[in-house]
């Protein structure tokens, strides 16, 4: 059988193709952008091309990530929390804790020996401590993302970035530069801020070795090094880490295609919701603003002393 996992993240969409023996034979990556269904199709087609497999020959497809219900050609959906756990355990069977730093989410996941999710914690309501925080730093300093890590590693006296807001971090960075701090020192401060926040999420689920680091930020060497120093242990980091969600999704797809049972995926999926998503026009899925009455004159209230 040939199966696929498509991970539609807030920033990038990743897809992988697995063969019968659960080997990764194709990968596809593109920016998610505004038209989620297109991004899912594009990543999937790229992966199929990479694998040299006609798209029609793929037997089972699982969608994951925030846009999972937009993988309209997929057969079912699994959250990326379950997928990262499953993928990490597949590549590193000793994984008991998974840290995923993605574009807008950082997740600490406690996993069981079969890759099952025992507990998880995520950043709430705010993108502080996520890949987006690094992106904001990169933008403020005008440095390409790929150069952030190597430059940060040259730091001698890192500054402390204290703000908890990704947007305000930009002004804090500018402020440090205005005070004459070196770019690498400021950059290291940004990395340390993210690492510290990730660490507190990890502590909430409990740090049990082995710890596997997943998500796009794994490609940043400075982040890996800082996390290893703070945790005082080596992290499992796979060159496939960026695709971990898609790998986990494809493993669920493989279960389903082979045995007819998709494990955790079996319990999933609200068909009606998927149907609605399939039929819905391609619109943004951001909640519409609540109507406000700010234009109205406030009543005069007699306030007694």
């Amino acid at each position: 059988v040939i199966v696929s996992g498509v991970d539609v993240g807030s920033t990038q969409t990743k897809a992988v193709i697995l063969n019968d023996r659960r080997e990764i034979i194709g990968r596809g990556l593109c920016d998610t952008g505004a038209i989620i269904t297109k991004a899912a199709e594009e990543a999937f087609n790229l992966a199929a091309q990479d694998a040299g497999v006609p798209a029609a020959d793929v037997d089972f497809i699982v969608g994951t990530g925030y846009g999972r219900y937009r993988v309209t050609f997929g057969h079912t959906q699994v959250t990326e929390i379950s997928c990262h756990a499953r993928g990490a355990q597949y590549l590193f069977p000793g994984s008991r804790t998974v840290l995923d730093i993605g574009g807008q989410d950082t997740k600490a996941i406690k996993v069981g020996p079969e890759g099952q999710v025992l507990d998880f914690c995520m950043n709430d309501k705010c993108a502080a401590g996520t890949g987006r925080f690094l992106g904001a730093g990169a933008m403020a300093l005008d440095i390409p993302l790929g150069e952030l890590g190597p430059l940060a590693l040259q730091a001698k006296n890192p500054v402390k970035i204290t703000t908890t807001c990704t947007v305000f971090a930009e002004s804090e960075i500018i402020n440090w530069l205005a005070r004459g701090k070196k770019v690498e020192d400021v950059l290291m401060g940004v990395h340390q801020a993210i690492a510290t926040r990730s660490l507190s999420l990890l502590r909430r689920v409990g740090v049990e070795p082995e710890v596997t680091f997943t998500g796009g930020v794994t490609r940043n060497l400075a982040m890996v090094q800082i996390l290893e120093e703070l945790l005082e242990m080596k992290l499992n980091v796979s060159p496939e880490a960026h695709y971990m969600g898609a790998i986990g999704a494809s493993l669920f797809a493989h279960d389903k295609a082979v045995s007819g049972a998709a494990g955790a995926a079996e319990a999933l999926g609200v068909e009606s919701e998927l149907e609605a998503a399939r039929n819905a026009p391609e619109l943004c899925n951001v909640n519409c603003p609540v109507p406000v009455n700010r234009g109205k004159q406030l009543p005069v209230v007699e306030v007694k002393a």
Binding site: E80, E114, Q116, D119, F120, R204, L268, V290, P299, V301
Partner: protein, 441 residues
């Protein structure tokens, strides 16, 4: 392709769903009674759901307005921002309790509520059971210049859940509260121009006794599989009646009829959904600005809230099945106020063992902690409680955060993602347990 469909709700008939329909009707009547009070020459007391002092106030014939219920309703009716904005324009910070702000917005707009026009208060009664109540009462005091009575309930002495029942401490606290009740009675006499009648108080206490007995039995019926009611969805209606009709014949009769309906459902194996796949215990209130969606996100998975901590606190502590001793009404009332008060105030520190007991007795598969962004009082301690239960008792739990009233604090993508992942893990856990041959609850 074997994708599971969301289970359908159980069909209603003349008896099934009666409490929901009657509850909604009673709510309408409660507000119209409140609205008509000034015309009828009745006095209105502004009180809070925790420590409403309904027993004393009812004995004087006061109509009661509960700001939490008024604020909750503007959220459910999707007009919360029409009330939050004027309050924020007036100067209240976005961080302030959204119940308070929705209420301030109501008073800034001449008390025009989606249900009608709220009358002005004649008296305000607050307790220290929520640390915002006192400041909230002061807002009305400034607006209307009416007397405010604040009942001070002593906090728990010592650590641990069971300390509430320490006999000596309880007796001393009871005397302290009882002395204050006499002051409240004197104030009520002054405001209403009516003399206190202890036999009338006895009658009111008797109605509360009946209501409490039926209510605690109803709660226990939800230990059955399937559970006859959803503690977050249906529970909201029942909770409203517990507050709004506490100490009235209408209220106790309603509760008896609810009891009858629930017994009927249990006898016939009727739950709330055609298939009950997961049983949950809720900690914290629901998100009322997106109430339907909040409930759907769980129901789509076939999950039912079989109990909710909120039913205890916002239901005025009647879950304990308290029975007043009618031979010594005031002492007995003071004793109960101390016990329910201390339980609410200590909850943030000592709830964990109690939660584990409820999970066991109600056969819950896990706990959902819903933290309220604008209310630190109900949210404090949730993360610690969750950590303790996960690590020491292996009780699965989910932690999500939004708000009671403020729709700006709801983020469906994040919310749904966490809920889905929780059920994926819970489903896998149940499947593994079933495969291992262990009998599932």
């Amino acid at each position: 392709m074997s994708v599971k469909q969301a289970p359908a709700p159980v069909q209603e008939d003349a008896l099934v769903g009666r409490a929901r329909r009657e509850g909604n009707q009673l709510f309408k009547e409660w507000f119209s009674d409140l609205q008509a009070a000034p015309e009828k020459g009745e006095e209105v007391a502004y009180v809070f759901v925790m420590g409403s002092m309904a027993e004393i106030l009812r004995s004087f014939g006061f109509q009661m307005s509960f700001p939490e219920i008024n604020s909750l309703q503007v959220a459910v009716r999707k007009v919360a921002m029409d009330y939050l904005n004027p309050a924020e324009d007036y100067g209240y910070s976005t961080d302030v309790c959204a119940y308070v702000k929705a209420d301030v917005g109501l008073h800034l707009q001449e008390r025009r509520h989606p249900n009608g026009r709220l009358p002005k208060p004649s008296v305000v009664v607050a307790t220290n059971m929520c640390n915002t109540y006192v400041k909230w009462a002061e807002i009305w005091e400034r607006l209307y210049g009416v007397p405010v009575f604040v009942l001070d309930i002593p906090g728990q002495r010592g650590i641990g859940w069971e300390k509430r029942y320490d006999k000596e401490a309880l007796d001393s606290d009871r005397r302290y509260v009882q002395a204050q009740l006499l002051e409240l009675i004197a104030l009520c006499e002054r405001v209403s121009g009516t003399k206190f009648d202890i036999d009338r108080l006895r009658e009111v206490l008797g109605e509360v006794n009946r209501m409490a007995a039926d209510w605690s039995a109803v709660l226990k019926l939800n230990q059955n599989v399937p559970a006859p009611f959803n503690a977050m969805a249906d529970g909201l209606t029942y909770m409203g009646i517990l507050s709004g009709y506490r100490g009235t014949r209408t209220g106790s009769e309603y509760m008896a009829r609810l009891h009858e309906e629930m017994e009927h459902k249990v006898r016939n194996g009727l739950g709330t959904l055609e298939e009950e796949r997961f049983r949950l215990h809720g900690v914290g209130p629901a998100c009322y600005s997106h109430f339907r969606r909040f409930l759907e996100l769980f129901q789509e998975w076939g999950a039912v809230f079989v109990n909710s901590e909120y039913l205890a606190y916002a239901g005025g502590g009647l879950d304990l099945g308290i029975q007043f001793d009618l031979d010594r009404p005031l002492e007995s009332l003071a004793e109960q106020i101390v016990q329910t008060g201390q339980r609410s105030m200590s909850n943030m520190f000592f709830s964990q063992d109690q939660l584990a007991d409820v999970v066991g007795a109600w056969h819950a598969d896990g706990i959902v902690y819903h933290s309220v962004k604008s209310c630190r009082t109900v949210s404090t301690g949730m993360a610690d409680s969750r950590e303790y239960l996960t690590k020491t008792k292996e009780i699965p739990s989910l932690f999500v955060e939004s708000d009671l009233v403020d729709p700006r604090l709801w983020s469906e993508a994040q919310f749904k993602n966490r809920i889905d992942a929780f059920f994926e893990a819970l489903g896998a856990r149940k499947a593994a347990a079933a495969a291992a041959g262990r009998v599932q609850k």
